[in-house]
C-alpha cells in the first residue's frame, strides 16, 4: 500500500542524497518525493510516498530517524490529511477541439495556462486520482508532454506536523520529536 511520510530535515547540502540513498540501500522504491522550504528558516520539508506494508513503513520511519539531519518523521497515511499534487499537461488541440477541451478543463477545475495553434498546456492541482482522471479524458486528444510534482501532504485539523498550533507562536515552533512507539 502507498504510505505517505512527512519528513522535516535540516536544510544542508547532501541531505536529499542521504534520504534518497537510504531508500536505495534498504531496497524501498520511492513513488514520489517532493522537497521545499518551510515556515522555519533552515528547515526543509519532504513528502515521500512509498509502496510498502506496515512493517516496512515502521522500519522506514526508524531508519529515517537514524539520519542525523532528519528532525521529524510522520507517517500520515492513517491520519486525516489533505493530499495535493500539481501537474501540467500539454495536449494536442486543433482550433476545432479547443472548446471541447476547455469544457473538460472546467469540469476538473483545472486551467489553461498556454495555447498554441496545435496544442495547449493545462495546469491542474488536486489529488493523484483527480489528475489521473483528467489525464484519462485527455488521452483521446493526444497527450504530448506531462510533468507532475509528486504528492504533498498536510494533516487536517488544528494540529501541525511540527507540533505548532494557532495558539502558539507558530513562527517559533521548531519541529519537535514525535512520540515514537515501537510496541508491536
Amino acid at each position: 500500500m502507498l504510505n505517505t511520510f512527512v519528513v522535516y530535515v535540516e536544510d544542508k547540502p547532501g541531505v536529499l542524497t542521504r534520504v534518497a540513498s537510504l531508500f536505495r540501500r534498504r531496497a524501498f522504491n520511492i513513488d514520489s518525493l517532493t522537497v521545499g522550504r518551510t515556515e522555519k528558516p533552515g528547515v526543509s520539508r519532504m513528502t515521500i510516498v512509498v509502496d510498502t506494508d506496515e512493517t516496512g513503513a515502521r522500519r522506514l520511519e526508524a531508519h529515517l530517524y537514524k539520519l542525523i539531519n532528519v528532525l521529524l518523521v510522520e507517517n500520515v497515511t492513517a491520519e486525516a490529511a489533505v493530499y495535493r499534487e500539481l501537474a501540467m499537461i500539454r495536449v494536442k488541440a486543433t482550433a476545432a477541439q479547443r472548446s471541447h477541451i476547455m469544457d473538460l478543463v472546467e469540469v476538473f477545475r483545472a486551467k489553461v495556462v498556454d495555447v498554441s495553434p496545435d496544442s495547449m498546456v493545462i495546469e491542474i492541482t488536486g489529488t493523484d486520482d483527480k489528475i489521473d482522471g483528467l489525464l484519462h479524458v485527455l488521452e483521446g486528444y493526444g497527450v504530448l508532454e506531462m510533468v507532475r510534482t509528486g504528492r504533498v501532504a498536510m494533516r487536517r485539523g488544528g494540529k501541525a506536523a511540527n507540533g505548532a498550533s494557532a495558539g502558539a507562536d507558530s513562527a517559533e515552533a521548531a519541529p519537535t520529536p514525535g512520540t515514537i512507539s515501537y510496541s508491536v
Binding site: R58, Y65, S183, V184
Partner: protein, 572 residues
C-alpha cells in the same frame, strides 16, 4: 574563555586533544599535509601504518579494546578509498571510530583534480554520519559532533573530509562555542512503563527461557547487570560471536556461542525455548538460520538501542528500545527470583550427549588440529589474553575453544567478516591496552592480506604475538566446497611464503610448529620473549569446523562432528 587564532590544521589536533585522544593511526599525503605539519605542536602520538585500511582496523581495534573512540587519518583519493573496508567493518560491528581525510582545495572540488574522490558520497551508506568541511571555522564543531555521534547511541564510524584550504586558513578557535548542534539526533530513547510490564510478565511466565546476549552488552557495559539478571532469573545465556566475553564462559548458566557454528546444545535450547530475551543483538542470519523455523514456539523480547533493528529479521512480542544497561537495571528492580530446574537439567543432558571427550585428553595421533592449538593457547594464557581473530575457520575454532571470561577479551570482525582485520586490529588493541597480553589468531590467507602492518608493529615496538593457523587453504571456503560443491577446491589452495623467514625479515622472532607436543612450548616461548613472536602452526589441511548449520538451513539441522576426535568439553 580566551579565544585563540589558529589554522584549521591546528584546530584538528586541539580538538582531538580535547576529546581525550592520545593516539591516531594514519598515513600522510598531499591533501592532509597541512594537518601533518601541525602535528609537531600536539601531544598526540601518530602511528604510521603501511596501508590506510590498516589505520581504520587499528582505530577499530583501539576502540573495541578500550571502549573509547579510535581515530584514523589519511589523505584524499586513494588514501580515503583505502579506508572503505575498515569503515564498513566498523559500521557493521557498531564500533566508534572517527576517520579524518584530507580533500583537495574547495575550489577544486568537482573538477576531477589530482587525488580527488567523493569520499563522503562513497561512505554515505557505511558511516553513521559523515561531513565535508570546507572552512576552518567549521572544523571544531564538526569534530565535536563527530565524536559525540560516534560514541553515543548505537556507536559507529564517522568520517570527516577536510579540504586543504580549510586546514590552511585560520580563524578564531573557541572550544566552548563549538558545542554540537544536532537537533535531529536522539540517541537517548527509553521504553515506556507499559512495555516494561509486558516484558516482566513474559519473563515471569516462562518455563524454558534463553537469554541471547550480543555485542550490546559490551558496548553498554552491562556485563554485571547481565550476570545478576541471569542468576536471579536462572536463565541460561547464549552468546553471539561478538558477545563472547559478555558472560563468563565458566559460569554454569553459560551456553556458549549460538548460530552457524554454535554447539548443538546451544541451538537446540534456542529452538525449544518458550521465551527468547535478546539483549543487544540483531538476529543476524548467521545466528538464526532459516528465519521461518527459528524458535517457533518462543515469545520474544528484544532489548535494543537501535529502533531500526526491531522486527527487522525476527518479529518480536515486546521491544524495549533503549540503553541496555539502563533497561536491565530497570528490569532487575521488578524481577522476582525464578527457578527453571527442569529446563536446566535438560541442558545438562544435552551437553552430556554432545561433549564426548575433551580434546586435551585425546591421545596424540600425530595430527595437529587447530582446536588443539587454540585450546592450548587458552590453557597456557589461563584464558586471560586479549585475542584478536581474523575471519574464517580459525575464528570459529577460537570462539569454540578459547573460553572468554571477561568483556573485551575477544576482538573479531563479525558482521562484515573482513579478512585481514586481525593483525592491524591487534596493533590498535595493544596501543589502547599496553598491559594486555595480545594474541593474534589468524589464518594463512587473511594474514597475507595485511601482513605489511608487521612493519608498523615493529616500528612501534609493540609486543603482539601472532599464531598463524596455517592449513594451506582458504579453509572456510574449502570447507564449503567440501560440503556443498563436491570437493571442487577451486582457487582455495595457497602456496604460502615461509612465514618464519618472513617474520625474521621484519625482525620478529619466529618458529614453526608441526607437532602437538611443540604447541605449548612455542606458546610459552612467545609469552616469555620480550618482543613480538610469530608462530606458524602447520595444522591438518582438510579439517572442518563442526557443528555447522548450512546457510539458510533450520537452526536445529546441524552437520555434527563426524567422530569423537574434536568434540569440545562440557564446561562443568
Amino acid at each position: 574563555m580566551t579565544k585563540e587564532h589558529k589554522t584549521g590544521a591546528e584546530i584538528i589536533w586541539k580538538c582531538l586533544e580535547r576529546e581525550g585522544v592520545k593516539h591516531v593511526f594514519g598515513y600522510p599525503g598531499g591533501a592532509i599535509l597541512p594537518a601533518y605539519d601541525a602535528l609537531q605542536h600536539s601531544s598526540i602520538h601518530h602511528v604510521l601504518v603501511r596501508h590506510e585500511q590498516g589505520a581504520t582496523h587499528m582505530a577499530d581495534g583501539y576502540a573495541r579494546a578500550s571502549g573509547g573512540v579510535g581515530v584514523a587519518i589519511a589523505t584524499s583519493g586513494p588514501g580515503a578509498t583505502n579506508m572503505v573496508t575498515g569503515i564498513a567493518t566498523a559500521m557493521m560491528d557498531s564500533s566508534p571510530i572517527v576517520c579524518i581525510t584530507g580533500q583537495v582545495g574547495s575550489k577544486l572540488i568537482g573538477s576531477d583534480a589530482f587525488q580527488e574522490t567523493d569520499i563522503t558520497g562513497i561512505t554515505l551508506p557505511i558511516t553513521k554520519h559523515n561531513y565535508l568541511v570546507t572552512h576552518a571555522n567549521e572544523v571544531a564543531r564538526t569534530i565535536r559532533e563527530a565524536f559525540y555521534i560516534a560514541k553515543s547511541g548505537r556507536p559507529g564510524p564517522v568520517l570527516i573530509d577536510v579540504t586543504k584550504d580549510a586546514q590552511q586558513s585560520s580563524c578564531e578557535f573557541d572550544w566552548d562555542t563549538a558545542a554540537p548542534q544536532l537537533p535531529g539526533y536522539r540517541p537517548d530513547l527509553s521504553p515506556t512503563p507499559d512495555e516494561y510490564e509486558q516484558a516482566m510478565e513474559l519473563i515471569h511466565q516462562a518455563k524454558r527461557p534463553v537469554i541471547l546476549a550480543g555485542h550490546g552488552i559490551l558496548v553498554s557495559g552491562a556485563g554485571g547487570e547481565l550476570l545478576e539478571f541471569a542468576e536471579k532469573a536462572q536463565i541460561p545465556v547464549a552468546l553471539t560471536l561478538l558477545g563472547l566475553g559478555a558472560f563468563p564462559a565458566s559460569h554454569q548458566l553459560n551456553l556458549g556461542m549460538m548460530g552457524m557454528h554454535g554447539e548443538a546444545w546451544v541451538n537446540t535450547m534456542i529452538q525449544e525455548a518458550d521465551l527468547l530475551i535478546a539483549l543487544g543483538m540483531r538476529f543476524d542470519d548467521r545466528v538464526t538460520g532459516n528465519i521461518k523455523t527459528y524458535a517457533r514456539n518462543a515469545k520474544k523480547i528484544h532489548v535494543e538501542i537501535d529502533p531500526a533493528e526491531i522486527n527487522k529479521n525476527v518479529r518480536v512480542d515486546v521491544a524495549l528500545v533503549g540503553d541496555l544497561r539502563a533497561v536491565l537495571q530497570e528490569l532487575l528492580g521488578e524481577l522476582e527470583p525464578c527457578q527453571h530446574r527442569e529446563w536446566l537439567d535438560y541442558l545438562k543432558k544435552l551437553k552430556g550427549d554432545s561433549a564426548v571427550r575433551d580434546i586435551q585428553n585425546l591421545p596424540d595421533s600425530g595430527h595437529l588440529y587447530a582446536a588443539h592449538v587454540i585450546n592450548d593457547l587458552w590453557r597456557t594464557t589461563e584464558g586471560k589474553a586479549l585475542v584478536v581473530t581474523d575471519v574464517g575457520q580459525h575464528q570459529m575454532w577460537e570462539a569454540q575453544y578459547y573460553h572468554h571470561e571477561n568483556p573485551r577479551s575477544l576482538i573479531t570482525s563479525g558482521g562484515l567478516g573482513t579478512m585481514g582485520f586481525a593483525l592491524p586490529a591487534a596493533i590498535g588493541a595493544k596501543v589502547a591496552r599496553p598491559d594486555a597480553e595480545v594474541w593474534v589468531v589468524v589464518g594463512d590467507g587473511g594474514f597475507q592480506m595485511t601482513m605489511g602492518e608487521l612493519a608498523t608493529m615493529v616500528q612501534e615496538k609493540l609486543k603482539v604475538n601472532i599464531a598463524i593457523i596455517n592449513n594451506g587453504y582458504l579453509g572456510m571456503v574449502r570447507q564449503w566446497q567440501e560440503f556443498f560443491y563436491d570437493r571442487n577446491y577451486e582457487s582455495t589452495p595457497l602456496l604460502n611464503p615461509d612465514f618464519v623467514k618472513l617474520a625474521e625479515a621484519f625482525g620478529i622472532r619466529s618458529t614453526a610448529v608441526k607437532q602437538r607436543a611443540q604447541v605449548v612450548p612455542a606458546i610459552q616461548a612467545g609469552r616469555q620473549h620480550d618482543g613480538p613472536m610469530l608462530i606458524d602452526f602447520q595444522v591438518e589441511q582438510e579439517d572442518s569446523v563442526y557443528p555447522m548449520v548450512a546457510a539458510g538451513a533450520d537452526l536445529h539441522q546441524m552437520i555434527r562432528r563426524p567422530g569423537v576426535l574434536v568434540e569440545t568439553a562440557a564446561d562443568e
